[in-house]
C-alpha cells in the first residue's frame, strides 16, 4: 500500500484541503439528499423534531382552550379525540424520542472524537423514514383521518369492530415508521460508542452524555420490538382478521397493554436518560469541575436502563391483576427512585463544592431540578397500588408525566440547545432573551400543570373533551389554560431567539464555555470531517487536562474517508476503517419502504409487491463498486 496518502507530516492547510476533497458533500440538492454526514442528518433531525414540537404544542393549546370552560364548543368530540391522540403520539414518537436520538446523532461522534457515526447510510435512511412517518400522521390528520384512539391505542377500541376506517391503522403504521428509524439510530450509536472512540478514551473516560446515549440506545433496542410486535398484531387483526386481541375468539385484550407498556415505560426513560446526560454535561462545564461520583452516575444510568423494564405493570394497576403481583411492581417502580435520587445527590454535591456560573443552560438545569424532583415525588405516589387506583387516568397523572417529561427532559433539552448552539451554528444564542425565555417556560409550565394535580384528586378523568358546569373544575381549568399562554410565550421566545441568534448571534469560536469534552476541540460548526487530526485522550476531561494542546493521532489516509476503530474497553487503536461515501440509495430505500408501509394499510398484498422496490433499492445500496470504502 505504498501509494496510500497519509496525513503524517502534512501541514494543517494541505491536510484540510485533502480532507475536504473526500469528506465534503456535493453542492446543491443532490448533496443535501445524498449526504451521510452525521451532523447534517443530526441537524435535520433536530430541526424536524422541533417542528413537530411546535405542531404538538398548538394541539395542546387547542385542548386547553376547549377545556378552559365547561361545555365549550371549540372542538367537537371527534376532533378533540383526534387532537389528544395526535398530541400524545406526536410528542412521544415524533418529538421526544427522535430529538433525543438526534442530539446523540450530532454530538456522540464529536464527543468520542471520530469522523462520522457508524453505519452513516443507515443513519441517513433512518431520518427519511422518520420524516415519512411524521408526514403520514400529520397528512392523515389534515385529511380528517387522524387517529382518535389515544397514543396508547388500547384494544378493543382500536380494533376492527370499534374503529372503522383507517384511523387506527395510520396510528399503528406511524409506530412502525418511527420504530424503524429509532432502531437504526440506536444501532449506529452503540457501534460508534463501542468501536470509534478516540484512542485513550477508555470506558471510564467517556463523557456522561455518551454513557447516557449508550444506555438509551440499548433501551431502544430492547424496548421497541415489543411495540412493533403489538402494532403489527393490531394491523393484522384489523386487516386480515387475526384475533390476537379478540376475546370472543380466544384473544386477549390485556395482552395489548402488556406489550404496549413493556415498551411504553422504557420509552419514558428513552426520553429521560439522555436528559440526565445533558444535565451532567452542563453542570460539569458551568461548575468547572467533573460531576461528582462518575462511577455512581454511570451505574445509576445503567440501573435506570435495567429497572425500566421491570415496572410496566404500574400502568395496569386497575386492570384487575392479582394484588400480590401488583405489589411487586410497586416495589420495582419505587426502586427507580434510588438511582434517580443518587444522580440528584451527585449533582447537588457537584454544585456544593463549586461556584456555578448561572448562564442560561444552567438556569434550565435549576428549572429541571425544581420540576423534575416534584414529578419524581408524584411518580412515587402513582407507583403505590392503593394511591394509583385513585390517581390513575385522572388529571393527576397528566400533571405527573408532564412534570417528568417536560421538567425532566424538555428543560434539559432547551438548556442543551443553548449550551451546544454555538457548536451547531458557530454563534452564541442570545443570553438576555434566554433568561426571559427560561423564566417564562418555567413559570408557565408550573402554573399550567400544578393545578392539574388537584383537578385529578377532584375526580377529573383524562381524555374528556368537556365537563359539566355542576362539577367544580372550571376555575382551575381556566387558570391552567391562561397559564398555558405564558408557557407558549416562553417557547415562542425560545424559537425566536434561536432563529435570530443563528443569523446575528455573536461568533462563538471553538470553545466558548471553556468546556472539557472533545466536541469543543474543533471548529464551530465542525467541518465535515469533524477533526482534522484525531485527538488522543488521556483523561475524562481532555480539554481541561491538556492545557490547550491535545495530543493527536496520525497515519490516517487522506485519499478516502477513513476513521479509526478502537477496542471496546480501552480504546486502543485496532484498525483504520473506511467510512461510506454519500449515497442517494438510503433516500430511495426509505421512499420504497414508506410506500410499502403506507400501502399495506390498505391491502396485505402491499407487503408482497411493495417489497420488490425495497429489494431493488437495497441491492443498489449494497452493490459492490470496488470503491475504496470496500477495501478492508
Amino acid at each position: 500500500m505504498t501509494h496510500d496518502r497519509r496525513d503524517t507530516g502534512l501541514g494543517d492547510l494541505a491536510l484540510e484541503a485533502a480532507l475536504r476533497r473526500v469528506w465534503a458533500a456535493a453542492h446543491g440538492l443532490w448533496g443535501l439528499l445524498a449526504t451521510v454526514d452525521h451532523k447534517a442528518i443530526g441537524r435535520r433531525y433536530i430541526a424536524t423534531a422541533f417542528g413537530f414540537l411546535i405542531l404538538g404544542g398548538l394541539l395542546a393549546l387547542a385542548m386547553r382552550w376547549q377545556l378552559s370552560h365547561p361545555e365549550a364548543r371549540l372542538l367537537d368530540p371527534d376532533r378533540y379525540n383526534q387532537v389528544f391522540t395526535m398530541h400524545g403520539s406526536n410528542m412521544m414518537f415524533l418529538f421526544a424520542v427522535p430529538v433525543m436520538e438526534a442530539m446523540g446523532v450530532y454530538f456522540v461522534p464529536l464527543m468520542v472524537g471520530t469522523r462520522n457515526i457508524a453505519f452513516p447510510r443507515l443513519n441517513a435512511f433512518s431520518y427519511w423514514v422518520y420524516l415519512a412517518g411524521g408526514l403520514l400522521l400529520w397528512g392523515a390528520f389534515l385529511l380528517e383521518m387522524g387517529p382518535d384512539v389515544g397514543w396508547f391505542a388500547y384494544v378493543p377500541l382500536s380494533g376492527p369492530q370499534y374503529s372503522a376506517g383507517k384511523r387506527a391503522d395510520i396510528w399503528a403504521q406511524m409506530i412502525t415508521f418511527t420504530e424503524i428509524s429509532a432502531l437504526a439510530v440506536a444501532v449506529g450509536l452503540v457501534v460508534t460508542v463501542f468501536k470509534q472512540r478516540a484512542p485513550g478514551m477508555t470506558l471510564d473516560r467517556m463523557p456522561l452524555f455518551v454513557w447516557a446515549m449508550l444506555v438509551t440506545a440499548f433501551v431502544v433496542i430492547l424496548a421497541m420490538p415489543a411495540v412493533v410486535t403489538a402494532s403489527t398484531a393490531l394491523i393484522l387483526d384489523r386487516l386480515v382478521g387475526t384475533h390476537f386481541f379478540n376475546p370472543a375468539e380466544g384473544g386477549d385484550v390485556l395482552l395489548w397493554q402488556h406489550l404496549f407498556w413493556f415498551f411504553g415505560h422504557p420509552e419514558v426513560y428513552i426520553i429521560f436518560i439522555p436528559a440526565v446526560g445533558m444535565v451532567s454535561t452542563i453542570i460539569a462545564t458551568f461548575c468547572r469541575r467533573p460531576v461528582f461520583g462518575y462511577l455512581a452516575m454511570v451505574l445509576a444510568l445503567v440501573g435506570i436502563g435495567l429497572l425500566a423494564f421491570g415496572l410496566w405493570v404500574h400502568h395496569m394497576f386497575t386492570t384487575g391483576l392479582p394484588r400480590l403481583g401488583e405489589s411487586f411492581f410497586t416495589a420495582s417502580s419505587m426502586a427507580i427512585a434510588v438511582p434517580s435520587g443518587l444522580q440528584i445527590f451527585c449533582w447537588l454535591a457537584t454544585l456544593w463544592g463549586a461556584r456555578p456560573r448561572l448562564a442560561v443552560p444552567m438556569l434550565y438545569v435549576l428549572a429541571f431540578l425544581f420540576t423534575f424532583v416534584l414529578g419524581g415525588m408524584t411518580g412515587v405516589m402513582v407507583a403505590s397500588v392503593p394511591l394509583d387506583t385513585q390517581l390513575h387516568d385522572s388529571y393527576f397523572v397528566v400533571a405527573h408525566f408532564h412534570y417528568v417529561l417536560i421538567g425532566g427532559a424538555v428543560f434539559p433539552l432547551l438548556g442543551a440547545i443553548h449550551y451546544w448552539f454555538p457548536k451547531l451554528t458557530g454563534r452564541m444564542m442570545g443570553a438576555r432573551p434566554g433568561r426571559w425565555e427560561c423564566l417564562l417556560v418555567f413559570a408557565g409550565f408550573n402554573l399550567t400543570f400544578f393545578p392539574m394535580h388537584i383537578l385529578g384528586l377532584w375526580g377529573m378523568p383524562r381524555r374528556v373533551y368537556t365537563y359539566q358546569p355542576e362539577l367544580p373544575w372550571a376555575g382551575l381549568n381556566l387558570f391552567a389554560s391562561l397559564s398555558a399562554v405564558l408557557l407558549a410565550a416562553g417557547f415562542l421566545l425560545f424559537f425566536w431567539n434561536a432563529w435570530r441568534s443563528a443569523r446575528h448571534g455573536a461568533p462563538a469560536g471553538e470553545n466558548p464555555w471553556g468546556a472539557p469534552t472533545l466536541e469543543w476541540a474543533t471548529a464551530s460548526p465542525p467541518p465535515p470531517w469533524n477533526f482534522t487530526r484525531i485527538p488522543v485522550v488521556g483523561s475524562a476531561s481532555p480539554l481541561w487536562d491538556s492545557m490547550g494542546e491535545l495530543t493527536v493521532a496520525e497515519g490516517l489516509r487522506t485519499d478516502r474517508r477513513e476513521l479509526l476503530v478502537t477496542s471496546v474497553m480501552d480504546a486502543t487503536p485496532e484498525a483504520r476503517e473506511s467510512s461510506p461515501q454519500d449515497s442517494i440509495w438510503p433516500l430511495l430505500a426509505a421512499i420504497a419502504t414508506s410506500v410499502m408501509l403506507v400501502w399495506s394499510i390498505f391491502t396485505p398484498w402491499a407487503v408482497v409487491w411493495g417489497s420488490i422496490p425495497i429489494a431493488v433499492t437495497l441491492i443498489g445500496w449494497f452493490w459492490p463498486r470496488g470503491t475504496p470504502e470496500d477495501e478492508s
Binding site: P77, F292, T330, G341, M377, V385, R462, Q468
Partner: protein
Amino acid sequence: MTGGWQSALAPGGSSADAILRLFWPTVALLGLIWLAVLLVLAAALLRRARPEAPRRAGAVVGAATAGTVLVVIGLTLASYLVTRPISAAADAPLIVQLRGLQWWWQATYPEEGEASGFVTANELHLPLGRPVRLELSAEDVIHSFWVPNLAGKQDMIPGRDNALTFTPTVPGVYRAQCAEFCGLQHARMALLVVVEPPEEFARWRAVQAAPATAEALAAEGRQVFERQPCGACHTVRGTGAAGRTGPDLTHLASRGTLAAGLLPMTRGALAAWIADPQTLKPGNNMPLVPLSADELQALTAWLASLR
C-alpha cells in the same frame, strides 16, 4: 378544597377513606423531601464555594441514597398494608353486576332472599354500612368504574371479570365517571351512586323490581312507545318492550339524571333528548325517531311518570 361529590379528598366509603389516610402522610413525607432538596440546592448556590473533602461528600451522598432506600421500603410496605384491606373480600356483601357499554352503565341487582332481581341503568343505590361487591364487566370496549368518594377505580374489560368491594360509610349522592378512554363520548359516561339508609334502600329496591305502575301502563304515551321502534332497544317491564341493547326504562323517572349523567331528569330534558339525541351526545347509539309534537308530548309525559 375537598372537591365535592366526585372527589378522592372527600371520602364516603371504606376504601376511599383508607387510601386518603395513606395519601396525606405520603404527600407530607415526599413534600418534605422535595423541600429539602431545594434547600440544599439553594444553599449550594448561595454559599461561598470552598472545596470540600471528597470523602465527606461521598459519605453525604451515600447517606442520602441510603435514606432514599429506606423511604422507598417504608412507602412500599405502607402501600402493601393499605392494599390488603381495600382488596379483601367481605362477608355477605350486596352483589351488584355493573356492565359498561358505549356510553352508559347497566346495573343488575340479582335476586337476594325475599327481594327479586331487576335491571336498571346509570344509577346505583347502595345501603349505608353494608359491604358491596360490584362485579364489573364490559360489553364492547374497556371502561373503568371510578367513584372517587367511595373507592379507587377498577377497569371493566371485555372478556374479563373484575370486582370491586367497599363499604359506603357516609350517606349522600356521589358521582362516578368512566375513567378509561372508551371512544367518542367517553366524557359523557357518568353514573350516580346514592348511598342511603338500609330501609330506604329496601324501599327503592322493591319499587325497582316491580313492573311499571298500572296508571302508567294505561297512559297514552305507552301506545306511542309501543308503536314506535323504542322497544327494539329498551325494556319497560309490564309492556311488550323488551329490547336489551339500550337502558331499561321501567323506572326511568326515579333516576336523578338522563343519558348517563348528561342531563337532569326533567320532562323538558326528556323531550330534548328524544327529539335530538345526536346533538346532545354526538355519536351515541340512540337514533333520532321522528315524532309528531303530540306524540312527543304524550311520550315524555308517560316516561316522566315511570317512577
